[in-house]
Amino acid sequence: MIATISRHLTGERMTYALKINGTRQTVDVDGDTPLLWVLRDVLKMTGTKFGCGMALCGACTVHIDGVATRSCITTVDSVGDSSVTTIEAIGGTALGRKVQEAWLDLDVVQCGYCQSGQIMSAVALLASTPRPTDAEIDDAMSGNVCRCGTYNRIRDAIKRAAKGKQP
């Protein structure tokens, strides 16, 4: 589908046709609506979380064309024809599944609220950096806050997913 026109102006209605988890979804919202609320409230995909609204905590992290992106400050009119991937679909990729398995193997989650975003950031990191150093993990994961303090296990799980064995 080349140059899909994702904005349709029909009378006063402005709709956006978004490519989310491989499916085209059309939504009728203002163009400055954050993608986060389109996902959560319009499309009822609640795996992506609201935490701060200012890209300070990473709970809302999704992938846009594979890049970890804070959906709380990403307006729907900026998405265009890009592919949006959310936590609901990340397990459908080999790397996503591997990260989720590492998260389970190492008992990472506690309250779990931030973990959608943590996992999306970790998958994006490993996709570009298959064997991250501690410093690279810090860089990639620093934007994802966990108030339960699961950071030791997050680090270990990323290394486990990278190496496929115990860190």
Binding site: G47, I87, L104, G112, S116, S142, R147, G149, Y151
Partner: protein, 729 residues
């Protein structure tokens, strides 16, 4: 993994056998609607409702359905502490079923059924690190009783003695192993049997444990890594609207001007609602609600608290701390011993207001109908909330239905009904269900804050440096007096002095008193670690000061004061050993230690810090030794030690809420600073094997980490930190 809402067994028809169990527990059994076995262990009643009926409350509610599934209604709420898993383990252990045979259900509000029996709660509250402490025994009794009845049913069918039968994974075998019957085929028969007499229920000895002491995966972990877990904020209902809310920036203020027309002109906005203290914009989605709220350009009447500021509040506390308070403990003769001491040491310690800042912002979904109200919220206090909503709406408590939810971090914030009450005030003006979500800024600026404490502490030492007199005066607002007034007695707040009144050390001539001083315009509440999170910092810092004054090693000094307290001494020794205490450290680095008994658990924690030329502190390693009695799930213990450590460390290093012009100065994660991964130290947990009664752990490490770190800073720099956060001094 959550089961759909199911009807509770009508307990009025459950057969009741007033057999006495140890600790005056009772067992009740009955049939479930689907023909399964329902069973509860009743503890002595704490609730008014139950005492009226003179009928002990049932508080561990288990159903085994004909499909073989075991349903456990969990009285506590899951907010990361792992209680749904640990409670399921306790039941499954004695019932002899696999953990994955257990389905958990959030409990509806009902103190008669689900009150935590520990004396400081006695209601359906998840707090005080009390879930395991309150429920480990009832759950094991329930599991064991059900197993005994199912075995008895099989034995009856085979016409053999029950004692010759055995159970494995929910299947009863005869002595030869040739005959077997699964639980699901025994339910109808078991229901007709008399529950075992109390002296027939023997809990498993530790050597037979299959689950306790092991670390099965969290039952909800798979859902949490795939975004499937439904938190309160994720509730979706037919016709649901969402609402963004602005609350008066000054406590007690009111909205003055609201441009409703501008808000309503926003696409997707349906309604603008005002309450005494807030404005809410109701919309189809939160993007529209927030945009509408911004365009409403709200102005406020600030009210009487517009001049509140932190300097003034601290000055008030400082003055209040000068006068004697309500006595929490007074043994020996402090004044006499202090004035006769070879050396006298005095200090003041200050701890700031703190917000909870859980990752899931405050939210609540309500559907207010004519004579009833339905609520979806993650709450640590379902019954208190239910009563408060009933009072607000003037309807009977039973007309308020609460569906508890997984909580994205509680830390004490969800021990308050304020978020639900605000949602109800909004929801009663909305036709249909509405989900009210606070912004992060509202969440931080309208928290119910950990109190500011201004403590005075003094000690006299003898010629050998041993303490001969100890006085700790705690000064700060009383959470208990506001939140649980019935427990505020003679001016004493037991929570405010917890960790101060009973330090683990042998301290002769000890006086501990409490001065209540309420800051105007600030509501204070429970914060992870509660009393100990403040007092352990003061006590452990000051013990370190005494060791330094005596010229003694901090570990050795503590050892000498713990001769009477073997479990505290053991964790201290274990932490010191694992941390390599005494090994030389390079310049600019130091080790600090602390010891604590709180929530029924003993901890000792050693922190290693590096302090650079600019004074920047980096915590490099944390070693924690834990004696929490019988360890139920070691991985969960380790996780709670790590979690509590990070939470306490975050606050100790940089956590502070301040007020200016009546307003909270911090607003989001750029000003109320969370710890991020690059600052998190490695945390090592060492568990002391024990068969003692389980203690609580959800809050323990939060309380102990700050003094270990400040003591380490002292070791590295000779700089003593007496006011938190560290980075402000």
């Amino acid at each position: 993994m959550m089961a759909p809402e199911t009807e509770r067994l009508p307990l009025s028809v459950a057969r009741s056998y007033p057999a006495r169990l140890s600790r005056r527990s009772l067992l009740k059994v009955g049939a479930t609607a689907a023909g399964g076995l329902a069973l509860a262990v009743a503890l002595p009643s704490w609730s008014k409702a139950a005492s009226k009926e003179n009928d002990p409350a049932l508080n561990a509610f288990v159903r085994i359905e004909p499909d073989g599934r075991v349903h456990l209604t969990i009285p506590s709420v899951e907010m990361g502490q792992g209680i749904y898993t640990s409670m399921s383990m306790l039941l499954a252990e004695e019932l002899e079923v696999d953990l994955d045979a257990v389905t958990v259900e959030h409990a509806p509000p009902n103190d008669a059924l689900y009150a935590n029996p520990i004396p400081i709660l006695r209601q359906q509250t998840t707090g005080a690190s009390a879930s395991i402490r309150g429920f480990w025994r009832p759950l094991r009794l329930a599991g064991a009783a059900a197993r005994l009845m199912l075995v008895a049913a099989a034995a009856k069918q085979w016409n053999v003695a029950a004692s010759t039968c055995s159970v494995k994974n929910g299947v009863v075998f005869d002595s030869s192993g040739a005959k077997s019957l699964p639980y699901r085929s025994l339910l109808r028969s078991a229901v007709t049997l008399k529950p075992p007499a109390p002296d027939q229920i023997k809990l498993k000895p530790p050597e037979q444990f299959k689950l306790i002491g092991r670390s099965p995966k969290r039952i909800e972990a798979a859902d949490k890594v795939s975004g499937r877990t439904q938190f309160g904020i994720d509730v979706i209902l037919p016709g649901l609207r969402v609402a963004a809310v602005a609350i008066s920036p000054v406590a007690g203020g009111r909205p003055r001007n609201v441009n409703k027309a501008a808000a309503l002109a926003t696409k997707g906005v349906r309604q603008v609602v005002t309450t005494d203290e807030a404005v809410a914009v109701v919309a189809d989605h939160m993007g529209a609600a927030k945009k509408g709220l911004a365009s409403a350009a709200i102005t406020w009447d600030d009210g009487p608290n517009a001049s509140v500021d932190s300097k003034m509040l601290v000055e008030q506390l400082k003055r209040a701390s000068e006068a004697p308070g309500a006595v929490a403990r007074n043994e020996g003769h402090f004044e006499q011993a202090f004035s006769g001491a070879a050396r006298r040491i005095e200090a003041t310690y200050e701890l700031p207001f703190l917000a909870h800042a859980a990752m899931e912002p405050m939210n609540c979904t309500v559907h207010v109908r004519k004579n009833s109200c339905e609520i979806w919220v993650g709450t640590q206090i379902p019954t208190v909330t239910q009563a408060a909503v009933a009072a607000l709406l003037g309807i009977p408590q039973e007309a308020v239905i609460i569906h508890n939810q997984y909580i994205g971090g509680g830390f004490g914030r969800r021990l308050e009904p304020d978020g639900t009450l605000l949602a109800v005030q909004i929801g009663k003006q909305v036709d249909g269900p509405v989900k009210v979500i606070w912004s992060r800024e509202e969440d931080i600026q309208h928290d119910i804050y950990r109190p500011y404490y201004y403590d005075r502490i003094s000690a006299g030492l003898d010629a050998a440096g041993q303490p001969v007199a100890w006085h700790h005066r705690v000064c700060g607002s009383s959470i208990i007096a506001r939140a649980v007034p019935a427990l505020f007695k003679n001016g004493l707040d037991f929570d405010a002095v917890e960790g101060a009144a009973e330090p683990p050390y042998a301290l002769p001539n000890i006086l501990v008193d409490y001065v209540r001083a309420e800051p105007p315009g600030v509501t204070t509440g429970f914060w992870r670690g509660v009393g100990p999170a403040h007092n352990v910092f003061v006590v452990e810092s000051f013990v370190d000061e005494l060791a330094a004054a005596a010229g003694q090693d901090p570990v050795e000094y503590r050892r000498n004061l713990l001769g009477h307290n073997p479990r505290a001494l053991a964790v201290l020794n274990l932490a010191a050993e694992k941390a390599g205490w005494g090994k030389p450290m390079p310049a600019g680095k130091g080790r600090g230690v602390a010891v604590q008994f709180a929530f029924g658990s003993y901890l000792s924690l050693v922190a290693e810090v590096a302090v650079d030329e600019k004074g920047t502190v980096k915590v490099e390693r944390v070693v924690c030794a834990v004696d929490c009695g019988l360890p139920i799930n070691p991985v969960m213990i380790d996780a709670q030690v790590q979690s509590g450590t990070i939470f306490g460390l975050t606050a100790a290093l940089r956590g502070v809420i301040t007020f200016k012009d009546g307003r909270v100065e911090q607003s989001n994660f750029d000003t109320y600073l969370p710890m991020r991964i690059e600052k998190a130290p490695r945390i090592e947990t060492y568990i002391v094997p024990s068969a003692a009664e389980p203690g609580g752990l959800g809050e323990a490490a939060t309380a102990i980490v700050a003094p270990a770190v400040t003591n380490a800073i002292f070791a590295a720099t000779r700089r003593r930190i007496r006011r938190l956060p560290i980075e402000s001094t």
